[in-house]
Amino acid sequence: MSIEAGDPAPRFALPDTDGNLVGPADYLGRPVLFVFARHLY
């Protein structure tokens, strides 16, 4: 089933460049845009 607007965000946590795990739960209370890039350059 695909995720659409109105659905709860799936849980995930990914390492940032400092090794901290970051995911949607870290942004609760504030809107956040996750940009899923194919590559950065």
Binding site: E4, L14, F34
Partner: protein
């Protein structure tokens, strides 16, 4: 998108990339990115959100793909040999403050990215079930 949206009080931005953290940190530094850069080398989150894969036609033959690459070079980015799966496509997911998906946009080809104004429009209008628009 980051340069126009980062620093706005009403919105946080995080970039997910299939690159490993070390090269991701280097590229982020070169590009002057200040938002969190998250590493997903297995593309697991891309699959969770249902971002697709580009066929050879859209990957190699679409004028927009070539134009996107040309613009990147004009902006000072060097062409490189891809180390990631080049057929995978990305997208953008706007999460509301309550953790729900407010907007999801799945890229239709390699150069298909939203304009910052599109993101802000959806941020202000709340939930809107669209795809690729």
């Amino acid at each position: 998108v980051q340069k126009e949206l980062a620093g706005r009080e009403e919105l946080d931005v995080a970039i997910v990339s299939p690159a490993e953290p070390e090269p991701l940190e280097r590229v982020g530094r070169e590009l002057g990115l200040t938002v969190p850069l998250l590493s997903d080398p297995t593309w697991s989150t891309y699959r969770v959100f249902g971002f697709g894969r580009a066929g050879a036609r859209t990957l190699l033959l679409a004028p927009r793909t070539w134009w996107g690459g040309f613009r990147a070079v004009l902006n000072g980015r060097r062409p490189h040999r891809p180390t990631e799966d080049y057929a995978e496509l990305g997208g953008d997911v706007l999460l509301a403050s309550d953790g729900r998906v407010a907007w999801i946009r799945r890229s239709r080809n390699a150069a298909d990215r939203p304009q910052p104004g599109d993101v802000l429009c959806h941020l202000q209008s709340g939930f809107r079930p669209t795809e690729g628009g």
